[in-house]
């Protein structure tokens, strides 16, 4: 089975969030970038497990500029066979999805995995768009994934519980917590990653329809009002009369 895994770079969770150029650009100064956790811990690791069990290949794909290469090497160190980077600086999910689709269409892959969202834009959009563009089935927010006899068998988050679903290949699956366990790359993997193919391809024509006009930081949080542990009724009074949530 040929599997494609979508990999994004994202600022480490503990990064200070700030903006430059009139609040139009993320300030990456001093920021540590990581593989988006949903892409790495769940989508990539499950893809590797499927390959180990059934054979095939795992290719990663990233839409981004050369500053993505370190996180792509990390994905290769964890175990992907090769990587594709489409050289572009996308402004919206439609652009990302259409660039990935231009590579992934024509039956080149049986299964495409992506994380359920990135931790910077929190969009949860690329997977669904990609499925539509590829004319593939789509399982969103999947918490487990098997492929048996050409059929995707997955569980996914649904209203008030988990649904079991079956879908035909080719399929796009967005990965949520539970699908796999994080893998730490070992030294052999890190060494091997240096020489695995990372193919940079120019961006062709792509759809594009939205962009961030401006970022804004939330207003500073007021001080936490401390209440004595002996006075829970005071907390209840504040929640009712001041915060008006009871």
């Amino acid at each position: 089975m040929k599997i494609l895994v979508c990999i994004s770079k994202a600022p480490d969770t503990t990064s200070r969030i700030a903006f430059t150029e009139g609040d139009t650009q993320f300030d990456s100064n001093g920021v540590q970038f990581i593989v988006n956790p949903y892409d790495e811990w769940y989508a990539l690791v499950r893809a590797l497990e499927l390959k180990e069990a059934q054979g095939g290949s795992v290719t990663t794909i990233t839409v981004g500029e050369a500053d993505c290469d370190p996180v792509i090497r990390k994905a290769l160190a964890i175990g992907a066979d090769d990587a594709v980077r489409i050289d572009a600086n996308p402004t919206d999910a439609l652009q990302v999805a259409s660039l990935i689709a231009s590579h992934a269409s024509e039956g080149r892959y049986d299964l495409v995995l992506c994380g359920k969202e990135t931790i910077d834009h929190n969009g949860s959009v690329v997977g669904g768009m990609l499925a539509e563009l590829m004319n593939a089935s789509f399982v969103s927010l999947a918490t487990s994934l098997e492929v048996e006899g050409g059929v995707v068998k997955a569980t996914r988050e649904a209203a008030g519980g988990l649904e079991s679903v079956e879908a035909s290949l080719p399929a796009v699956v967005s990965a949520a917590k539970g699908m796999a366990e994080q893998r730490i790359p070992n030294m052999r993997g890190i060494m091997a990653a240096r020489t695995k193919p990372l193919n940079v391809v120019p961006a062709g024509d792509a759809l594009q329809a939205a962009s961030v006009a401006k970022f804004e930081l939330p207003p500073a949080k007021g001080d936490c009002k401390m209440i004595s542990a002996d006075q829970p009724e005071e907390l209840v009074r504040l929640l009712r009369e001041e915060a008006k949530v009871l």
Partner: protein, 309 residues
């Protein structure tokens, strides 16, 4: 402006998340037509929230690819320039497909009204907001659950049957396992949430958490270590890699408030932190704090709330 709202239903009634999407479009000034699929009682309650008409697809569709075809065909038929859906499990699967089909720009999980061609949404796990500008004539928007509320008082909507060309299904649902048997509201839609962490020292101590939750009509949640250790099920894990929630009230007991946890809860309207450690980072993110032992504070708090009524 005409809007087509995708309205998920349950037992023939519009879901709260669906009504929020309709209310949102109404607040944006749109004339709202809702699309409902499967069983529907009268107008499903959507007229009250502001829809003037319901297009009803009698066939029950499970594959979001088919739902997206129905939504897209309805949007075209109605000449809608705005398509809205809730940013929940089903909206996340339907809306991106609709955006592709309609050649529309999409803004997911918005927190502000559409003003001109710009709309606000949270990014960086709630640590910043982005004003997203959409160039396309048709715009697709998904609404963050519990961010807008449900409008009321509208007249009952006219129901028209609608038979779109949806093609073959490529996905089928083969089973369902409810995450809770107590009938509590699912976490993403919960208005009140009571959450606990390692400070509770073991799964056998969750009774005091559940009792407070029951008293408050709240849903229970937990921190990542607690779900990783198997004290509580995974679906209760709120935080960066778990579920992101936005309740009116979030009460956290025995959770230190690591940045990964806060990323999932910092959009709550009011946060109460209860922790034995006065230096716990949660107190910096909370609105109200109690330094104390959850084993003592939670039962007292439950008692104080019971005394209200």
């Amino acid at each position: 402006m005409k809007c087509l709202a995708y309205l998920p239903t349950h037992d023939g009634q519009a879901t709260k998340a669906g009504l929020e999407a309709v209310s949102y479009a109404k607040k944006c000034g749109a004339d709202v037509v809702a699309l409902a699929i499967g069983a529907l009682n009268a107008d499903g309650g959507v007229g009250s929230a502001g829809a003037s008409k319901v297009l009803h697809v009698a066939q029950d569709l499970q594959d979001e690819a088919q739902i997206a075809r129905a939504v897209s065909e309805a949007a075209r038929a109605e000449g809608a320039s705005l398509v809205v859906a809730p940013h929940n499990h089903v909206g996340r699967a339907v809306a991106p497909r609709v955006a592709v089909r309609l050649g529309a720009g999409m803004v997911p999980g918005v927190t502000g009204l559409l003003e001109g061609s710009t709309v606000k949404r949270n990014v960086f796990s709630g640590k910043a907001m982005a004003h997203v500008s959409v160039d396309s004539e048709v715009k697709v928007i998904t609404t963050t659950p519990n961010a807008f509320g449900v409008e009321g008082g509208g007249a009952e909507a006219a129901v028209e049957s609608f038979a779109p060309e949806v093609g073959e299904a490529s996905l089928k649902v083969t089973g369902f396992k409810a995450s809770s048997s107590d009938g509590s509201v699912p976490l993403p839609e919960a208005v009140r949430v009571v959450s606990a962490g390692r400070g509770l020292k073991g799964p056998e101590h969750w009774g005091i958490v559940e009792e407070l939750a029951t008293t408050l009509e709240a849903t229970t949640a937990c921190s990542r270590p607690v779900s990783d250790m198997g004290w509580r099920p995974h679906h209760e894990h709120v935080g960066q890699t778990g579920i992101t929630i936005r309740p009116d009230l979030y009460i956290a007991a025995g959770i230190s408030g690591a940045i990964q946890h806060l990323a999932g809860v910092n959009q709550s309207k009011v946060i109460v932190a209860i922790n034995t450690d006065p230096e716990a980072p949660f107190f910096k993110a909370a609105d109200y704090g109690i330094v104390g032992d959850a084993f003592e504070v939670l039962p007292k708090l439950t008692e104080a709330i019971k005394n209200l009524s």
